[in-house]
C-alpha cells in the first residue's frame, strides 16, 4: 500500500529545465509545489567538480551523468512490421538523469524556431500548395509567433545567452542571422569568441555569398547576473561541455540559473531519487488526483495534487501519459489517437576536411562557439523546384578535442598500427568538420507506443520507438550533403569526405539527443495531445511540457524552444488556469 501524503497545489514530475522553470514560476505565484525527480541531487561544486570534471572516460565514454538503461531502457525498430528490441545501451541519443536533467550536459546552443515553424502547415500550403507536403503529417502548433516571442526572451535572459541578434522588431542587424524571426531586443550577452576553424568557415561562407553568424549559446561570453539575481561566470573554452557539467558556472542549467533561488523557497520541495510510476486519475478519467512514486529504498508513496505537470525528458513524458491512460494511443494503421504521434528526430549529415600544416587546436572549444549559416534552413530558401521541404542549419562548431572520441584521420588511414598513429597525429591538428543539422518532419508510420514484450525494473512496459528517416527528409539531407561538398571544395583542402544519411535510423552511433513529439501541441484534440498551452485535452489538470510538444522538429537544437514553451505554459497556468481551473481551450 502506498503511503498517502498531504496534497500539494502542483506536483512536478522531473526537475530538469522545464520542471525548474515551472517550479520557479508557480512558486512565485504563491503555489505550494513539489518536484519529484528520479535521479540524484546534483550541484556544481560537488558533482561538476573542477578537480575531476575533465574526465573523458568517466563522463563522455562511460556516461556517468546520463540515464542508465538498467533504470529505463527503450525498444526500437525502423518499421511497424519489425519486432522492436531494447537498446541495451543508449547510443544514438543520451537522455539525462538527475536534477538539471539533460540541461546539465548539453552544449548550450539556444535557437528560436521560426515563425513559419509554429504555423508550418499553413505556411507551406500557402506558399507551395497542399500537394507539396502530401505524405507528411505537418501540423500548426496552435501558438503564434507574437504569443510565444516574449517566452523566448524570458528564457534567453534567464540563461544569459551569448549571441548577435539578426532581426530586432523587423530591422535586420549586421552580423546576426538575417533569417531569424523578429525579436524584441538584443541577446543579453555578446557572442563568444571563436576558434580558428569557425573563422575559416565564416570567411569561406561569406565569399560564397552566404550569411554566417555566431551561434546563440548558453556558454557565457562574460560574467552575468540573471533576472533572478544569480551570478554566472565567463566561459573558458575548456572543451568539456557536451556530456559534462560545467565547473565554471558558465553554462546555463537549472543549477546555474534557477535552483539557488528556487531551493530556498518555503513553498518548494524537491524529492530526489524518487521515481514516479504513474499519474492516478479520477474514476471518470477527466482529472488527475495524484502521482504514485517509489523512493530509493523501494517505499511507495501517493502524492496528491491539484495539478500534475509532466516535465521529464520528451520520450519519458509520452511514456508517462501512456502508462497513466492520459489521452489515447496513436495507431499508425488508422492515423487515429493523439498520444505517440509525430515522433521526430534530427536529420544530420557532415563533411570532414583535412587541411595541411595547421594548428587548429581542437581542444580549445566551447559548446556553442561555432558559426552557422541558415541560408538552407527551414523555409528560408525556395523549395518550389526541390523534391522536399525543410532544411538544415550548416555550421562549423567544434566542441572538443577529447582524444578517446575525437580522432579524425585522413581518408585511407588504417584503424590501428603504425599507419594509424601517423594519421591520427596528422589529423588531430588539421581536421575540421562542417555539419548540417536538418529538420525532421512527421510521417504516419513514425510513432511512439508501449512495448508489448519488454519492461523496466518496476514491471512497467518500456517505450517503443518506431522510426526511419522519411523520404522527404532523406532527400533534404542529400541536398545538404551536396551543399557541404561545395563548401568543402571551396577550402581547397588536402582531402575531404562527405557523409550521407541512411534511411534506416541506426540506434548505435551517437547522433543527437533531440527527440521530439509524441505529445504534441495543436489545435485539435484528435490530432494533438495538448492544447496551445501544453494542457492535456483529455485531463485538463495535467500539463505536459517539453520537446514532446513539438509538432515537428526544425533544423535547430531544441532547447531554446523547450525553454520558451516552459515559460509559455507557466504563464498560462499562473495567469489563467489557477484563476479558473479547467480547460483553457474548448475544442
Amino acid at each position: 500500500m502506498a503511503r498517502l501524503l498531504p496534497k500539494k497545489d502542483a506536483v512536478i514530475i522531473g526537475l530538469g529545465w522545464t520542471g525548474a522553470i515551472l517550479a520557479q514560476q508557480l512558486t512565485e505565484a504563491g503555489l505550494d509545489v513539489v518536484a519529484i525527480e528520479r535521479g540524484p541531487w546534483r550541484d556544481t561544486a560537488t558533482d561538476f567538480n573542477i578537480g575531476y570534471m575533465q574526465d573523458e572516460l568517466r563522463y563522455a565514454i562511460r556516461k556517468d551523468l546520463f540515464l542508465n538503461p538498467v533504470l529505463e531502457a527503450m525498444t526500437m525498430r525502423n518499421r511497424p512490421d519489425q519486432t522492436a528490441l531494447p537498446m541495451r545501451d543508449y547510443g544514438s541519443f543520451l537522455p539525462g538523469h538527475g536534477v538539471g536533467g539533460a540541461g546539465v550536459h548539453w552544449n548550450g546552443k539556444t535557437w528560436r524556431f521560426w515563425e513559419s515553424d509554429f504555423q508550418i502547415h499553413t505556411h507551406l500550403t500557402r506558399r507551395y500548395g497542399a500537394n507539396k507536403i502530401r505524405g507528411l503529417q505537418l501540423q500548426d502548433w496552435g501558438v503564434t509567433w507574437d504569443e510565444i516571442e516574449p517566452s523566448f526572451d524570458a528564457f534567453e535572459y534567464l540563461c544569459g545567452i551569448s549571441g548577435k541578434a539578426g532581426n530586432i522588431q523587423g530591422a535586420l542587424q549586421p552580423g546576426g542571422n538575417p533569417f531569424e524571426s523578429p525579436r524584441a531586443r538584443e541577446y543579453p550577452n555578446p557572442p563568444l569568441k571563436t576558434g580558428y576553424p569557425p573563422m575559416l568557415f565564416d570567411k569561406v561562407a561569406r565569399e560564397m555569398g552566404y550569411h554566417p553568424f555566431p551561434q546563440p549559446t548558453a556558454n557565457l561570453s562574460r560574467p552575468y547576473v540573471n533576472p533572478l539575481g544569480i551570478a554566472m561566470g565567463e566561459c573558458t573554452y575548456c572543451g568539456f561541455c557536451e556530456r559534462f557539467g560545467c565547473a565554471n558556472y558558465s553554462k546555463a542549467s537549472a543549477q546555474t540559473t534557477i535552483l539557488p533561488v528556487l531551493m530556498t523557497k518555503p513553498n518548494f520541495e524537491a524529492r530526489t531519487e524518487c521515481e514516479v510510476l504513474k499519474v492516478n486519475l479520477t474514476a471518470d478519467r477527466k482529472a488527475a488526483k495524484s502521482v504514485t512514486y517509489v523512493d530509493a529504498r523501494g517505499v511507495e508513496y501517493e502524492q496528491p495534487g491539484e495539478m500534475v505537470l509532466i516535465c521529464a525528458y520528451s520520450l519519458m513524458n509520452v511514456r508517462m501519459m501512456l502508462l497513466s491512460g492520459i489521452g489515447t494511443q496513436y495507431d499508425p494503421a488508422t492515423g487515429k489517437g493523439n498520444v505517440g504521434r509525430n515522433y521526430c528526430y534530427q536529420t544530420s549529415c557532415g563533411a570532414r576536411l583535412f587541411l595541411e600544416g595547421k594548428h587548429l587546436n581542437p581542444f580549445i572549444a566551447s559548446g556553442g562557439m561555432g558559426r552557422t549559416i541558415d541560408d538552407f534552413n527551414g523555409d528560408g530558401f525556395d523549395h518550389s523546384h526541390l523534391n522536399f521541404v525543410g532544411g538544415a542549419g550548416i555550421s562549423c562548431d567544434p566542441s572538443n578535442g577529447r582524444p578517446i572520441g575525437y580522432r579524425p584521420t585522413p581518408p585511407g588511414t588504417p584503424r590501428w598500427g603504425a599507419g594509424w598513429k601517423k594519421g591520427t597525429v596528422e589529423g588531430y591538428q588539421n581536421a575540421m568538420n562542417i555539419g548540417a543539422q536538418g529538420s525532421s518532419y512527421p510521417v504516419r508510420e513514425n510513432y511512439l507506443d508501449l512495448d508489448p514484450a519488454y519492461s523496466d525494473r518496476h514491471g512497467r512496459p518500456l517505450l517503443r520507438i518506431t522510426f526511419s528517416f522519411p523520404d522527404n527528409d532523406v532527400a533534404m539531407s542529400h541536398y545538404m550533403s551536396d551543399q557541404l561538398e561545395k563548401i568543402a571544395k571551396a577550402f581547397n583542402p588536402k582531402s575531404y569526405s562527405v557523409a550521407r544519411i541512411q534511411k534506416d535510423w541506426n540506434s548505435v552511433p551517437y547522433q543527437s539527443t533531440h527527440n521530439t513529439g509524441g505529445a504534441i501541441m495543436g489545435e485539435n484534440p484528435r490530432t494533438s495531445a495538448v492544447n496551445k498551452y501544453l494542457q492535456s485535452w483529455d485531463v485538463p489538470n495535467v500539463f505536459v511540457i517539453g520537446a514532446s510538444a513539438f509538432a515537428h522538429n526544425a533544423g535547430m537544437n531544441p532547447t531554446g524552444t523547450v525553454g520558451a514553451l516552459a515559460f509559455w505554459a507557466a504563464k498560462a497556468i499562473t495567469e489563467k488556469y489557477i484563476k479558473h481551473p479547467g480547460a483553457l481551450v474548448h475544442a
Partner: protein, 246 residues
C-alpha cells in the same frame, strides 16, 4: 619543489579520504530538500586511481596475450611508446574487473532475440565474459593454425591474425551477437580508451598519448589562446592523477 609536493600530497589525501564517503552521501541524498540549497563538504565522488600492480581480471596467460595485442594495435615508434608500456592492458584489466566488465549500467532483461544491425548488441553477455570467451577462442585458433601461443608469434604473424579478425576473415566460435569481428571491435575500442584516457585509469602512462597529439588534458581554461589562430598551444598536458607526476 615544495609547492608542487604539497599540491600532490593534498590531492592524494583528498582522493584517499573521500573514498569511503559516497555511501554516506547517497544515503543522505534520497531525501526531501526544501528551504535550502543543500551542500556539504567532501560529498563529491572523485575517481580512484587504479593500483598499477598485478592483474585483477585476466589470468597470467590472458594478460600476456592482451599485452601482445595492444602492442600491435599501438606499436612503439618515434611518436609514442607502445600499448603495452602505456598500460593499455592494465587499463582493460581494471575496466573488466569493475562496473564496465559487469555491464551493470545496461539493460539485461530478455527475451534475447537476434536483431537488426540498427538495434545494436542483443546478446546476453557483459564485456568481461565476452573477453574470456574471445581470448580462449583466439588462443585455440592461433594454436591450431601456428602450433604456438599468440605471444610466441612474430610481429608480422600477430598482425596477420589481428587483420583477419578485423576484416572478418577469421571466424571464431563465440556467442550469439558476438563474432570475431565484434571481439576485435571491443578490443580496439578498449585499447584506444586506455591509451587516451586520463592516466588514473592505468593506461596513457606519462600522458604519452596526450604529448603525442598536443592535447593539454585537464587544463580547462584557454581564454588566453582562443584567438591565437594557427599557433601551437605552448603548454604540456596536465592529468587528474598521474603516477608519473610524483
Amino acid at each position: 619543489m615544495p609547492q608542487d609536493a604539497t599540491r600532490t600530497w593534498s590531492r592524494r589525501r583528498l582522493l584517499a579520504s573521500v573514498a569511503a564517503l559516497p555511501i554516506l552521501a547517497a544515503t543522505a541524498d534520497g531525501r526531501n530538500i526544501s528551504g535550502e540549497l543543500p551542500w556539504s563538504p567532501f560529498a563529491g565522488d572523485p575517481p580512484r586511481p587504479v593500483n598499477p600492480l598485478g592483474w585483477y581480471f585476466f589470468t597470467a596467460g590472458e594478460a600476456a596475450t592482451v599485452e601482445a595485442i595492444v602492442d600491435r594495435l599501438i606499436p612503439a615508434d618515434e611518436l609514442s611508446p607502445g600499448g603495452r608500456d602505456s598500460g593499455c592492458a592494465v587499463y582493460i584489466d581494471r575496466q573488466l574487473a569493475g562496473s564496465f566488465g559487469k555491464g551493470d549500467r545496461l539493460y539485461w532483461q530478455g527475451p534475447f532475440l537476434p536483431g537488426l544491425p540498427t538495434q545494436g548488441y542483443q546478446g546476453n553477455m557483459p564485456p568481461a565474459p565476452r573477453y574470456r570467451l574471445g581470448l580462449r577462442a583466439l588462443g585455440d585458433y592461433v594454436n591450431r593454425t601456428y602450433g604456438k601461443d599468440f605471444v610466441k608469434l612474430t610481429a608480422g604473424q600477430q598482425d596477420a591474425v589481428l587483420k583477419g579478425l578485423d576484416e572478418g576473415i577469421i571466424a571464431l566460435k563465440l556467442a550469439p551477437g558476438f563474432d570475431a569481428k565484434a571481439f576485435f571491435e571491443l578490443l580496439l575500442q578498449n585499447t584506444m580508451e586506455g591509451f587516451f584516457a586520463d592516466p588514473l585509469y592505468g593506461g596513457n602512462r606519462g600522458m604519452a598519448s596526450w604529448k603525442m597529439l598536443g592535447f593539454p588534458g585537464t587544463r580547462y581554461d584557454y581564454r588566453d589562446h582562443i584567438d591565437k589562430y594557427n599557433q601551437p598551444y605552448p603548454l604540456g598536458p596536465v592529468s587528474i592523477y598521474s603516477p608519473m607526476e610524483s
